[in-house]
Amino acid sequence: MNLFKRKPYVETHPHRQPERHFNQKVPDNMFIQCPHCKEGAYYKAFGAFRVCPNCGYGMRLKAQERLDMLTADYTPWDTELQTKDPLNFPGYDQKLAKAQAATGLNDSVWTGEARIAGANVALGIMDPFFIMGSLGTITGEKITRLFERALNKQLPVVIFTASGGARMQEGMPALMQMAKISQAVARHSAAGLFYLTILTDPTTGGVTASFAMQGDIIAAEPHTLVGFAGRRVIEQTIHKKLPEDFQSGENLQKHGFVDSIVPREKLGAFIAQVVRLNQPEEE
């Protein structure tokens, strides 16, 4: 045995930049794991509608992204309204500023008039990236005005819901939005006008317990989480694990609360179709 023979150590230079450029050629986000089925796929396989090629789950979208998928013909409403921060909640203004910068919205819903596949509608799109799409006072005000304007203009209303529920940083004034919106929905409905809700991932809490469940027709994207109480709260209450798909649009459909599961890429045509079927016959 030769004690003095050099062992074949490999020298490493942790501070030196690698000479080969694999990193630049394989950027992050090339492969995306589907949050629903957990399968990974090349990002391009998700396509323009950002739908999992394996299970059909639609990735969560910002309101503007969803709007761009539906139409280029729209007029936004009430983009200037700002919350009065009713609880003077510590740190809330920073949280809001961050959400506004991330989504380009004044609050958690985009509202306006839009033409989708030839059908004119008053459109609301909630943004799950704006403080979890939570229902704040301005969210509520924008949706209420959406129904009021739709009533004046005799337009149908289409709302894409996505929400963690009432916004706790705005306390009781946030909860009151559920009542305010519900009454606006009722007035719009009493005038014989059509309201379509499209449940998107996730629709929960106070939004499920108000306007999400008040549509004349209720549709859902595939594998959308829809529920009232949170999954963990239910499991802690009943001391049992819930089945994986318990709070899905598909399961709610089995129980009679959802009319139709519509794949994202067909939503535009679906909206136009049901809007036309719900319009008074033209002579």
Binding site: P86, L87, F89, P90, T137, G140, T144, A166, R167, M168, G171, M172, P173, A174, L175, M176, Q177, M178, A179, K180, S182, Q183, V185, A186, R187, S189, A190, G205, G206, T208, A209, S210, F211, A212, M213, Q214, G227, F228, A229, G230, V233, I234, T237, I238, K240, L242, F246, Q247, N251, L252, H255, G256, F257
Partner: protein, 258 residues
């Protein structure tokens, strides 16, 4: 009114075991109470008591949540957390009240709608949503009183009224202080601190015009009942001056402010 309590003390008092029970309230305020059961859709939830009764000389519809007094009742009512069948019973009785032009009196003490698996599958969200919408077409006087806990959508479902009152020792909030603390700080033991931030006391909510009146809560229950009954009678007489259409318009205007 007694010396001002902290928000955390109000939360405690709202949940106190000495809190007046639903049955004591109903028996003390009304005569001739006839309990009516069932949602006519396959269920009856004991967490909501409904029925018809006389307030003074006027027939009214009474809808109340109850936490139960015996252990059996507490289990059956999930300690006062209604299921969709309860909310559908409430809606049925409200529609019946409208048909017979009876005022609606609701009495609320619930931590919230029950978060159970069956409740979820039977459409807890839809059942509450239907009640919120119904306030638009109930052309009768409607007074809601929160006498203990007013937990989120599960309480709001019964409180889209012309007048919303709260007992001195009661709370009305978007979620429990414990839930609030555990979401915000991942620490449910900071509930007292959360209660202070949440503006859930009757005084805070009166300032924000979420409620209209605070009902004093003397230790003597007879005095409490007598005073509440008098207030209800006066307000009903007042609201009865308005037509059904005027009541609805005023109710819409009340909630449109928020």
């Amino acid at each position: 009114m007694a010396q001002k309590k902290t928000a955390a003390e109000v939360v405690q008092a709202a949940r106190s075991a000495d809190k007046i029970s639903t049955k004591t309230l109903i028996n003390g305020l009304f005569n001739d109470f006839v309990e009516l059961h069932g949602d006519r859709n396959g269920g009856d939830d004991p967490a909501i008591i409904g029925g018809i009764a006389r307030l003074g000389n006027r027939a009214v519809t009474v809808i109340a949540t109850q936490k139960g007094e015996t252990v059996e009742e507490k289990i059956a009512t999930h300690y006062g957390d209604p299921e969709p069948e309860g909310y559908r019973k409430a809606l049925r009785l409200m529609r019946q009240a409208a048909k017979f032009n009876r005022p609606i009196i609701t009495l609320i003490n619930t931590a919230g709608a029950y978060p159970g698996a069956d409740a979820e599958a039977h459409g807890q969200g839809e059942a509450i949503a239907a009640l919120l919408q119904a306030s638009y077409d109930l052309p009768v006087p409607f007074i809601a009183t929160i006498f203990g806990e007013g937990g989120s959508g599960g309480a709001l479902a019964l409180a889209c009224a012309d007048e919303v009152w709260m007992f001195e020792n009661s709370i009305y909030s978007v979620l429990s202080p414990e839930g609030f603390a555990s979401i915000l700080w991942k620490d449910s033991t900071r509930a007292d601190e959360a209660a202070g931030l949440m503006k859930l006391t009757p005084n805070d909510l009166l300032d924000m015009k979420i409620i209209d009146t605070i009902i004093p809560e003397p230790a003597n229950q007879d005095r409490l009942l007598k005073n509440l009954k008098k207030k209800l009678l006066l307000k009903l007489a007042d609201l009865s001056q308005l037509s059904g259409e005027e009541l609805i318009q005023k109710r819409l205007a009340r909630f449109r402010e928020f």
